[in-house]
């Protein structure tokens, strides 16, 4: 139990997927202009990422095995892309409201490095099924956490007298840098 908790804490804070592992940055930068959208994006990513880590574990464990390791990337990404596409279609049909909010961002999840990165890291770290799921969940929660915090700061920054050349993405980058500096404070918490 504590182990699982540590995995969760470790992936959310200590080895935060965005700030420390540097994965999933494009949506992190792209969808964090507004708090609401970043929350929704976080939720969608959490859903997809958890499913992706679970199903890719199954694919890897039961379909591929050690001999076909060279198919890992290929099969994972196809599974992920299909999951995302399917989710998108279902959401679009069943909940137009949710689709309104997430519509533009759902396809983006496919190209979120984190979504492929976490299953690959799972394989590398030889996680079992539960661990894989937790690792995916934790990674996604960490992603959501930093994105929401970042969105909050970016919203506030809109009003700041930022020098012209830094306005927009440049200052966002610097902010992300200082955030990752802050996240270094967690280093060593979970060894």
């Amino acid at each position: 139990m504590t182990d699982y908790l540590l995995i969760l804490i470790g992936t959310v804070f200590v080895n935060n997927i965005v700030m420390v592992k540097i994965l999933g940055l494009c949506p992190f930068m792209g969808v964090s202009k507004k708090l609401e959208t970043s929350l929704s994006m976080g939720a969608a990513t959490t859903f997809v990422l958890t499913i992706a880590s679970g199903s890719s574990y199954l694919v890897n464990h039961y379909l591929l095995g050690p001999d076909l390791a060279y198919l890992t990337t290929l099969s994972f990404i196809v599974v992920i892309a299909a999951t995302v596409q399917f989710t998108e279609m279902v959401v679009k049909k069943t909940s137009p409201v949710l689709y309104q909010v997430l519509g533009i961002y759902l396809p983006l999840i496919t190209t979120n490095c984190a979504v492929l990165g976490i299953p690959l890291l799972n394989v590398q770290a030889k996680h079992n099924f539960i661990e894989s799921l937790l690792f995916g969940l934790g990674g996604a929660l960490g992603f959501t956490l930093v994105m929401v915090l970042f969105a909050g700061m970016r919203e506030r920054l809109e009003g700041a007298d930022v020098p012209a050349v830094f306005r927009g993405t440049a200052i966002a980058m610097v902010t992300a840098g200082l955030m990752s500096l802050a996240f270094m404070g967690f280093s060593g918490l979970v060894k």
């Binding site: 708090l35 929401v148 915090l149 970042f150 909050g152 700061m153 919203e155 506030r156 920054l157 700041a160 007298d161 930022v162 020098p163 830094f166 200052i171 610097v174 902010t175 200082l178 955030m179 500096l181 802050a182 996240f183 270094m184 404070g185 967690f186 280093s187 060593g188 918490l189 979970v190």
Partner: protein, 343 residues
């Protein structure tokens, strides 16, 4: 045409900052008393660097220089950075840290009032990550080391890195009480034995506990003068006390007692001078309590389990990230609105 009101109360930004600076004096005095005058050199260096960077950035940004230099906020940042790094540090250490703090953490965001992160703590974090070796060699209190450096010796070391013949830096410096505790615990020494080490005094580190007390004194002045809100220090120190108390009760061999936590490291200066930076802390009463609790929790976690001996700086900037959300989610009820009613 000017809008109403036409009268104002004459308490200005520079006076607020100045009072904060005054409030630092007791702590600084005790610092000099226990550790020698090297810290004054650090302060002078950091302050010069702060003012120079501030002026340069204002010029670059095409903003008036004079009024912003005269608001003392850069000066305060400089002093706080100097107080958080080892006094006997090479001259470029406070300079690099302060310049980074003012240029990147403050002016890239638009200068005074716009920075989301506490500049001084960003400066400190950058230094401890980039130069961990230089940042962990603290002066032993006067009379603790085998030899005492004269004022001139300290100056010479700071600028040229040369110590008087026959002296070794090792003999003059030590790791901080928190650091030592961490190392010794790591090596398996029980708490009680650790506390018997010569560097510890009654509450915490010899000398440094008194400096912390000095900062607490200044902090109480700030509280009384209503310069800082009470929620922040109370929530922070309270959380730190409660957590360390509980852990200390459960396992006294591995966890330091609450007062040790209070009087070592940056707890006191953090509670009264750093977390309270108005610009980077929440503006609502509830938000401040949440902020203080969060910072206390993180400080304790990092001290007890993390990779850094002290956690105040990282806890501060980690909580700084949360400020916009804390503010947004703790908006007070306004006149004529029901609690919890949709805004």
């Amino acid at each position: 045409m000017l809008s109403s009101p036409f009268i104002t109360r004459p308490l200005t930004v520079d006076r607020i900052m100045l009072r904060v600076l005054y409030a630092l004096l007791p702590g600084i005095t005790l610092y000099v008393w226990y550790f020698g005058p090297a810290i004054l050199v650090s302060i002078a260096l950091a302050v010069t660097a702060a003012l120079a960077t501030e002026a340069l950035m204002l010029k670059l940004r095409d903003r008036p220089v004079r009024p912003f230099l005269a608001d003392y906020s850069a000066l305060l940042t400089g002093v706080l950075i100097a107080l958080s790094i080892p006094p006997l540090a090479p001259w470029w250490l406070p300079v690099v840290g302060t310049a980074f703090a003012i240029a990147v953490a403050k002016h890239l965001y638009g200068g005074l009032g716009s920075n989301p992160f506490n500049p001084a703590m960003i400066g400190y974090a950058v230094l401890i990550i980039s130069f961990p070796q230089e940042m962990t060699q603290w002066l032993s209190p006067q009379g603790m080391g085998h030899s005492v450096l004269t004022y001139g010796d300290q100056l010479r070391y700071v600028f040229s890195g040369v110590l008087p013949v026959g002296m070794q830096l090792d003999a003059l410096t030590m790791s901080t009480p928190l650091d030592t505790m961490k190392t010794q615990l790591h090596l398996g020494m029980p708490m009680s034995d650790i506390r018997d080490l010569p560097i510890y005094g009654r509450l915490a580190g010899k000398g440094s506990e008194m400096v912390a007390a000095g900062f607490a004194l200044g902090g109480i002045y700030l509280l009384i003068a209503r310069i800082i809100p009470w929620q922040l220090p109370l929530a922070f120190l309270g959380t730190l006390f409660a957590l360390s108390g509980i852990f200390n009760l459960i396992d006294p061999a591995h966890y330091a007692p609450p007062l040790f936590h209070w009087f070592s490291g940056a707890a006191m200066i953090g509670a009264f001078f750093i977390l309270t930076d108005p610009i980077t802390s929440p503006t609502t009463a509830k938000g401040r309590i949440a902020f203080g609790i969060g910072a206390g929790l993180l400080t304790f976690l990092i001290r007890a389990y993390g990779g850094f001996p002290d956690g105040v700086a990282f806890a501060t900037i980690l909580m700084n990230m949360c400020v916009p959300l804390i503010d947004a989610w703790t908006q007070p009820r306004i006149f004529g609105k029901k609690k919890g009613s949709e805004r």
